[in-house]
């Protein structure tokens, strides 16, 4: 199953490294990354593959949320299907 991780917040050193490490800890493969600074905020989306992830989706959400909260970042993970449905024919 593919999912989209989005990260928004104040730019700081180590955001990508931290998020990628957290994902790697749970055996999640990153397929694509797109990142920019939007209206002064660090803004990133990652396409990830959860095929080998053993954690439940709900736990994964909590892990990422907790990681983000400590750094003033809003991090969420959603299944890719919702974005596909809205933006692809």
């Amino acid at each position: 199953m593919k999912a989209i991780v989005t990260v928004v917040g104040k730019d700081q050193v180590g955001i990508i490294a931290g998020v990628c490490n957290t994902l790697a800890d749970h055996n999640i493969n990153v397929l694509d990354i797109s990142q920019t600074i939007m209206e002064g905020f660090f803004t990133m989306m990652m396409v990830v593959d959860l095929a080998l992830c053993t954690e439940s989706f709900a736990n994964l959400q909590n892990v990422l949320k907790t990681f983000g909260e400590g750094r003033g970042l809003s991090i969420r993970i959603q299944r890719e299907d919702i974005f596909d449905a809205m933006h692809k024919l």
Partner: protein, 452 residues
């Protein structure tokens, strides 16, 4: 490939523009619960609902979490109880409502619809008994919604039923006077009711439906409003195109959620209702969309045209996005549930007469309107007759959900709470319609040709 903009467009729609799935409604047939013994019938109804909808709320919550899209309501609709209870050896139909209420609470759903009767051409025994029980049923339950279909394009209007519903609405308001007539917010009178409507208070599971089915109602007035803010002063062609594109995206999301819910629950997918359903939250209003098109206040001249464009564009955009479209499909204009409508009614620009005109071109009808407590049953019946006539002649669904609030008069506010919102008490005409309603009988079905 999805772009960063695509992703954050969707996230903004959900976070800032109130995009949500308004409801996942499981329709459940109760036709196999029929029994001569009313207690046995109630037991079978309770067991079947709880068995079928056991995982509905949990599944809805899982989908919400995994896809990151709020699903505001999880609901159940059932076969019209008048049909199910008709063969029971009892004259008291209130226990059926209590059973539905208990089942809804066990399943954890927000509402259960189907305490209903279809009497557009006449009354069967079960219909008469159900209508008689509605006021008590609404007063004694929390989650049960009731609907009565009094007319159709093919059958005409049952004016005896229209007369009865005026009295039933008054009685319901009286019995629930401690909560400003909240019982009336769960009671709707239809013309051309549909069998697959996922929205309350009018949802019921039609007899032509499968044993159980998943219907989904989408929402998103805030998203349309936001999109239109980017085309200020543009031609109506551009406005229509913008609404269509937005409705397409919203509905695609609804279709995906419906398919996912259907798959996880092992229940066939029924329809997506292409709806624009407002909430009392600021930024989630249908009235504000109409105003964004250039009207100072919703209800002023031009409102009907603006609503006609909106309603049509929502359907055109949505229809390609969904495998099966149904329900009420279109823009809803419930006064108490729409922040812009409330404001427009409070300042006197939006009147019942204008709302009636608006119902000619939009999804449903006079919805969530508070009127003075001394409004007569006959006047309410006459309001229902007018709406039913619009539905009958125009081959569309119309409805009336009206609350005569005891002890309140024009200018007072009524608090319904939650998604039901708050409503200013609106004036009705003082001239009587009593002799008109007293006639009874049926208004014949209209001609379907020579349309002018």
């Amino acid at each position: 490939m999805l772009s960063l903009n695509n992703i954050f467009d969707t996230i903004d729609m959900i976070d800032k523009q109130h995009l949500d799935i308004r409801t996942i409604t499981m329709g459940i047939s109760l036709l196999d619960c029929v029994s001569e013994d009313p207690e046995r019938c109630c037991r079978k109804i309770y067991d079947k609902i709880c068995r079928r909808a056991e995982r509905l709320v949990k599944t809805g919550e899982d989908i919400e979490s995994e896809f990151g899209i709020p699903i505001v309501n999880k609901r159940i609709s059932v076969t019209p109880i008048a049909l199910v209870a008709g063969s029971c050896a009892t004259a008291d139909y209130v226990p059926f409502a209590l059973t539905l209420d208990r089942a809804a609470k066990t399943c954890g759903v927000n509402f259960i619809g189907g305490y209903s009767a279809l009497v557009h051409k006449g009354f069967a025994k079960g219909d008469e008994l159900l209508l008689r029980a509605i006021p008590q049923a609404m007063a004694q339950t929390d989650l049960v919604c009731s609907s009565v279909n009094v007319g159709s394009t093919r059958a005409g209007i049952n004016m005896d039923a229209v007369a009865a519903m005026g009295r039933i609405i008054k009685d319901t308001a009286h019995l629930t006077r401690d909560t400003d007539g909240l019982g009336c917010a769960k009671l709707v009178v239809f013309c051309n009711a549909v069998e697959d409507n996922p929205f309350m208070a009018g949802a019921f599971h039609g007899v032509g439906e499968a044993d159980s089915v998943i219907n989904v109602g989408v929402s998103g007035p805030g998203v349309v409003y936001h999109a239109l803010q980017k085309c200020k002063g543009a031609l109506f062609d551009v406005v229509a195109e913008t609404i269509k594109k937005t409705a397409f995206r919203i509905t695609r999301m609804g279709q995906m959620v419906a398919a996912e819910a259907s798959d996880r629950l092992g229940v066939p997918f029924g329809i997506v209702d292409l709806s624009l359903a407002p909430t009392p939250a600021v930024g989630d209003s249908v009235a504000r969309i109409l105003e964004e098109m250039g009207l100072e206040t919703c209800g002023t001249h031009g409102t009907t045209a603006a609503l006609a464009l909106l309603n049509d564009a929502v359907k055109k955009g949505g229809i390609m996005a969904s495998g099966h479209v149904g329900g009420l499909s279109g823009a809803f204009i419930p006064v108490s549930e729409d922040e812009g409508m409330i404001a427009a009614a409070e300042c006197g620009t939006l009147t019942i007469d204008k709302l009636e005109a608006m119902t000619c071109v939009c999804s449903v009808g006079l919805d969530m309107i508070a009127v003075p407590g001394d409004t007569s049953a006959e006047t309410i019946s006459a309001i229902i007759a007018d709406e039913a006539a619009i539905g009958m002649v125009n081959s569309k669904t119309t409805a009336v959900r009206i609350i005569p609030v005891e002890g309140k008069d024009v200018g007072d506010m009524v608090e319904m709470g939650g998604l039901l919102g708050s409503a200013p008490v609106m004036p009705v005409h003082k001239a009587q319609s009593a002799d008109f309603i007293a006639r009874g009988g049926r208004i014949p079905a209209p001609l379907q040709s020579l349309k002018n």
